[in-house]
Symmetry: C2
Subunit: 452 residues, 2 copies
């Protein structure tokens, strides 16, 4: 039997794991500095916790787990020709985590009496989606989320923008943090009398970068948005200048919409504080075309793009009025951001920003000439490990060529040789694999030479 | 809808996650020092990769994932009354990881041309089993495994014992490392002419500690092991002394079994090297009753018990001749150990060995008196974070009582107050929540005072 991975999944080789751990550690450090506490939820939830939360498409993409024991018990002959979605709950009662937000909502409701609100949590765990696999899209991938619940303060948005800046700067990345506000989009739709067509309007607007103004307007018209509405909206394509200048130009356009004005005020507050505090490497950009998550975002909408590389967004988030209403806990506003681990990985790789873990530390291989010599070597190995130095004994007394080949392939920096002579003299030969230089030193000297 | 966890699963609160991360980091550090490289495999594998690898009971306990799309397609009316185990593959083609060993075997076969043998990997990931949940037994739990494949050298066993010692010592734990060898058990069965009853013999022997010699012999008799065989085996109950003394007494008993003698020689080698190298906090104990994993272990069998606490084994492992034969790659011997994260957690908790993460670091909450004061506070917050200090701004300009209550519940060590006066003077009031002492200092002084 030739083994294979399940479709859309990946193995991670040591270097990939180390690089992923590197990203996660940088993010974790910043999550913690910003006051976010780690939580974890189980890989699977009751099916009823997840279904109906991600739309019809989402329900289809949730991986469902077969009931243990006699899962056929509740299945009737007529079910075999029924709609699989209605049959699923009869044979499945659990499902794999589809994102970190719904399990977090469940967590908040369930533990509400143990939490200190406003509660700031971060969570770094895999999620699973039965998407059709394609380049860069997998059925198992990690999400890294930071959310605050229980506070309507716009300082949260300010802090989350700072958190993005801190996290990405720590990884050596310059990013654009795109900011929009659902309230402005609603306001625009309101003044143009197309509130009913908010989604058509934003879906078309979202394509501005790709297809240009003319094509966007054409699409809007084709969706039944009137010429009159387009005339009202048209000035938004011409606003220019920096963040606050753009907001100023936007004000008269939405002047007749209370919610639109509110959206502008919110962005103004956020931008002012962010500018006053300064960002390390990132730029904050007003982006009216940003319309992700309109199903649930009610205020700020965020998206992050890396500079200098062609890649979709490497992060995103926003504010939602009601996180936990679905589970019976009302009035729990929240705001959060997500870091896209897989894409961040690809960006760091493309920009050559990963540190060279192999050159960072010394790796010593001790050769093996047989039982007695190996024990003498092992005594030094042990001391080096106690000093925090990565050290290995070659396990078999194989030919030197084989042992050196293992050292080469394994990216060892040094080979230490203890033969009979060296053993008797309390010495060893140390070969630097980079320079090829070989020296004879005492077993005390090697401990001096290598300190973590 | 009242939300609930799926049966047998857990949420982890921040303190639990931190404590689990603490254990994992200590183990990771030692895995790396000992030359083990991290890999990760997907949460689910093709169903065919997992079925038939864990026995009939195991097959039943594997969580199977429903096919996406029309999973009913292959189901026929007669299947509804058939054995669920034979029907499962028609509606499920994937299953959740049941342990880390079979996926590792699949990994080794699939990536054999990329790996540097002997290949040493560690892997820390959750596994899932449809066991009936009970106290301390969950349907989702982590395994932390370190294995070497491609080497028959007994130095691996020596190193794994050292690894156990190093890992557990780093966690402050004194442990007993119990060692046995499948070959000795086979040898004993051979000299007693009960090779066909090896399992009955070892299952009974395993109960020695709990039920005593008489009851063990009674059980063996009831399983059809003859009086004659018992007479031959009887001396094993009387061996005493240290590890090597016990081996000496065992030698004459298995003298007529080649495999038995081999087993003794192996343990002798391992014990001699371990004694010559010394252990930090652990003791190595010969334990003939240890018979875990006889389905696959072919040499050393290991089990770890924490001293000073009543708890099952907190680690185990052994040597297997053939890891990858099931996937078509022959002659791939291996040896590995596993650390039981959940039980280690419980032991550290019971022995009070977790560091106090909250007292280890300073946590400062800045109060919020409104927009201007908050911005002044935020400027200091930002500088403190840049110094690596955990700092938060209370997000709303709420009553002081509420802000202080948040600080108390959140285990903050200090509250920093910037009101209008302090803001204008470039000062702040710093209250130490432990001593209750409050001082007025400049905003530069607080940066001096708190350095990471």
């Amino acid at each position: 039997m030739k083994p294979a991975l399940a479709k859309g999944t990946r193995d991670f080789m040591p270097q990939e794991v180390q690089r992923r751990q590197y990203i996660i550690q940088k993010l974790q450090k910043n999550f913690q500095l910003y006051g976010f506490a780690p939580i974890e939820t189980p890989a699977f939830e009751n099916l009823s916790t997840l279904t109906g939360k991600y739309g019809e498409e989402g329900d289809r993409l949730i991986f469902k787990i077969l009931k243990s024991g006699d899962f056929l018990q509740k299945l009737k002959p007529e079910d075999l020709s029924a709609n699989p979605n209605t049959v699923a709950p009869k044979i499945s009662d659990k499902a794999l985590r589809y994102d970190l937000t719904v399990p977090f909502a469940r967590f908040v409701v369930q533990h509400q009496n143990e939490l200190n609100f406003p509660f700031k949590r971060y969570q770094i765990q895999p999620v699973w989606r039965a998407d059709r696999p394609q380049k860069g899209r997998f059925r198992e991938f990690y999400q890294c989320d930071a959310d605050v619940v229980g506070s309507e303060s716009l300082w949260q948005e300010v802090e989350l923008i700072q958190l993005y800046d801190a996290g990405f700067s720590d990884l050596g990345l310059e990013v654009e943090i795109h900011l929009n506000n659902r309230k402005i989009l609603s306001g625009l739709a309101e003044v143009a009398n197309i509130s009913e067509q908010l989604i058509d309007f934003t879906v078309a607007l979202d394509k501005l970068d790709k297809i240009g103004k003319a094509a966007v307007e054409e699409e809007m018209l084709s969706k039944g948005i009137s010429e009159e509405a387009l005339k009202i909206l048209s000035p938004i394509f011409d606003i220019s200048g920096d963040f606050s200048a753009q907001l100023e130009q936007l004000k008269p356009i939405v002047a007749n919409s209370e919610i639109g004005i509110k959206g502008i005020e919110e962005l103004q507050f956020i931008n002012e504080q962010v500018q006053a505090l300064g960002l390390k490497k990132s730029s904050l950009i007003l982006n009216l075309t940003l319309a992700r998550g309109l199903d649930y975002y009610t205020g700020a909408i965020l998206e992050v793009k890396a500079k200098g590389v062609e890649m979709g967004s490497i992060g995103g988030g926003g504010r939602y009025n009601d996180l936990t209403g679905i589970f019976g806990l009302k009035n729990m506003p929240g705001v959060g951001v997500s870091f896209g681990l897989d894409r961040i990985y690809l960006v760091l790789e493309e920009l050559n920003l990963f540190p060279d873990f192999t050159s960072e530390s010394q790796k010593i291989l001790f050769t093996n000439f047989g039982e007695k010599e190996a024990l003498a070597a092992m005594k030094v190995v042990q001391k080096l490990r106690n000093q925090g130095i990565y050290t290995e004994l070659y396990p078999e007394a194989s030919k030197m060529k084989k042992q050196f080949s293992y050292a080469d392939k394994g990216a060892f920096t040094h080979v230490a040789i203890i033969g009979t002579e060296e053993m008797n003299e309390g010495k060893l030969s140390l070969k630097d694999l980079k320079t090829g230089e070989q020296v004879s030193i005492s077993q005390e000297e090697i401990l001096e030479k290598f300190k973590a």
